[in-house]
Symmetry: D2
Subunit: 135 residues, 4 copies
Amino acid sequence: MSKKNITILCNVHYHQVDQMGVMHHSQYVYALEQSRIEWLLNQGISYGNLEKKGILLPVVDIAIQYKKPLHFEDSYLVHATLNELNGYYVDFSYVIENQQKNCIATATTRLVFVDGQSRRAMKCPDFLQNAFHSE
Amino acid sequence: MSKKNITILCNVHYHQVDQMGVMHHSQYVYALEQSRIEWLLNQGISYGNLEKKGILLPVVDIAIQYKKPLHFEDSYLVHATLNELNGYYVDFSYVIENQQKNCIATATTRLVFVDGQSRRAMKCPDFLQNAFHSE
Amino acid sequence: MSKKNITILCNVHYHQVDQMGVMHHSQYVYALEQSRIEWLLNQGISYGNLEKKGILLPVVDIAIQYKKPLHFEDSYLVHATLNELNGYYVDFSYVIENQQKNCIATATTRLVFVDGQSRRAMKCPDFLQNAFHSE
Amino acid sequence: MSKKNITILCNVHYHQVDQMGVMHHSQYVYALEQSRIEWLLNQGISYGNLEKKGILLPVVDIAIQYKKPLHFEDSYLVHATLNELNGYYVDFSYVIENQQKNCIATATTRLVFVDGQSRRAMKCPDFLQNAFHSE
């Protein structure tokens, strides 16, 4: 049974914190990526296997709105939601919360389907469409 | 004589490239940051000194649109432009080009002014307003 | 009850893998750091709190021997062991294993005690000596 | 005319600095890598092309001794020297200096030759031996 939402728990590591004492804004990009990969796994899809089959899902659009800082040793939750899937792209939206349930950041990403051989855009393969829509 | 635009030249380093063989999308965030810091230096402002004076400029919004990939050993240009400065935030826009003058990515960021002691939003200090508007 | 060893479980994230398709050798440095921080927590010491008290533990020596590669979606274990603690430094050694119990890498680090105000070397504070030696 | 030494100039970027206010110890690994790649280029060898030909040079050993910290906006020099090349590995040593010519760190690395297809150790190809020894 697949579903449109997933939540992952992350920790702020020492090397992610800058000299302002907060998690550097670049590091959220990694957390979003990790949540998407977990989302796919939750549909039964290993992103590593997708790439081995020659299907790449590069990010073509990312937008992040930072609301509150995170500090070293903080934990945070990334909630990832599938917003739209059509033949050409997949859109996710994200809410990041700290342990006190304050909203830390919101974000959106768009991924496209790319053929690993030709490196050209391709339509979303049927088996992925099915996996994404099977709830 | 200050100006609204700056261009920096960057190289794709080995560790920035992922297993798709392209510069990972997170790495653009670092290039944008570097171009902003160079933009400030070009107005006579060291961001390091700003922080020592207790003025922080965290990113509150970032959006990147990826058009074409970059590969290991590619060079690229980041063109950064001041779009808007008011009492509360600074907006930059960016165009990233490869050496063949193809557009690789576009981006925007919003920074706010934060008091290093209280960690609260503050108005843009006058000396910064002047530096930004002195062209 | 404190102890000299700790084991943490980590995953290879997409952004950590280079174009050879293996976890980039820099990324092991982060895993070692994380294991040390967990080791300290296991003695009841938050490294974040240590820094707030003005006690810094910078790395002055690191050596890593890479035996086998790790790939995207692999899990691995970092075993960290306190080797020596004296008034001036702390030495840890590490073994990294994959899920099949193959040795992936070995490593050693030396940390020193630095006063956060003066930024000069200091002797290991007594409460840390006690925490480290309390098993 | 090739030579055994190269020096590259690097800058400490904002995102490389941790909450101690110094360049994080992991970041030196990237600077060493960059100097090796420049060293190869200086012998007329693009590491990117080597990989395309199926010759990989993974790091199997790294050791770094940190002497003094680097701060945001510091520049530093990485001096890389070929120490030994035989049929099975290449050893480099490094000295990192700040702009005041103080020694910041020293380091050594060992790289081996790996066949990109089989992913097994291979002997150093003749054309590389020649390039390395042509001074």
